[in-house]
Symmetry: C2
Subunit: 137 residues, 2 copies
DNA sequence: TACTGACTTGGAGTGCACTCCAAGCAACAA
DNA sequence: TTGTTGCTTGGAGTGCACTCCAAGTCAGTA
């Protein structure tokens, strides 16, 4: 759910990255990157003359955003929907902002839920520590 | 991920609730409640003379806790592990508190991730609204 | 030339957390 | 007596998000 041990550095600013460089940067597997492309979550990636994928900085920016949304539990289908809106052009600004507004509420609710759970965890930990200290005074 | 339209009220304080009452209270389905019991996430539930489940207030308390942990994305297997520790008795206090400490860090990281996403969403929404207001001044 | 390693594909497989199904039983209403 | 409702079971099915596989291509090195 969090960072991997990958480098997470954009290799050189060369604006064309191999799939393994992108995998290492994003923490996604090469499999997943190809799958994202297949389902339309990523625009068709440029190819070298031998057919290998060359990702651009714009692709990495997009993957950064997707990664954030994914961390919030947004379903892949919803992210694909957003990708389609972006591809459809500037007429979809209203739809996009609405999608984000709705998702912002979801995220706020999640934060509230997590904070309430955090309170419970704190309480439980205090309880168990209190019990332990009473057992070993 | 959040509340359903269910009642979410403990019916009467009668200390024995049918599976459908518990389903309505917790927002889980009756299927899921039986499944939780089967996998050991819930202790064996008391039965009526006809074999129907009668949940106690203690069961509801437990389900409240499980629900909190579930909201934080704790895997069911980990929750089962905790349930086993509780069943194993007071010798497992240390293990339990360690489990909670570790999970607390996970939850804190999730909150941080969500807040960073929230900032991105705010930025995107401001951007799209700015663009919209420039188009329709 | 032979090998290694990184890449390509479509389709099949995996793990998780449910979710449903078919068949059956008990209590109650018309 | 005949429904209807609500419950029971083990096992099979579902949807999601990957994850892997087999067979093949290409570039670079020994």
């Amino acid at each position: 759910m969090s960072l991997t041990t990958a480098a997470r550095v954009r290799p050189t600013g060369q604006d064309h990255y191999s799939i393994s460089e992108v995998a290492s940067y994003t923490g996604l597997s090469a499999h997943t990157l190809r799958w994202y492309e297949r389902i339309g979550l990523l625009n068709d990636v440029h190819r070298s003359h031998t057919g290998q994928r060359l990702y651009t900085d714009a692709d990495l920016d997009w993957l950064d955003l997707i990664g954030k949304l994914r961390l919030t539990g947004m379903p892949v289908a919803d992210m694909v929907r957003y990708a389609e809106l972006v591809r459809a052009g500037d007429d979809t600004f209203t739809a996009r902002v609405q999608l984000f507004r709705e998702h912002r509420e979801v995220v706020r609710q999640q934060i509230a839920d997590l904070q309430s759970t955090l309170a419970v965890l704190d309480f439980k930990i205090d309880f168990y520590e209190g019990a332990a200290s009473r057992c070993t005074p």
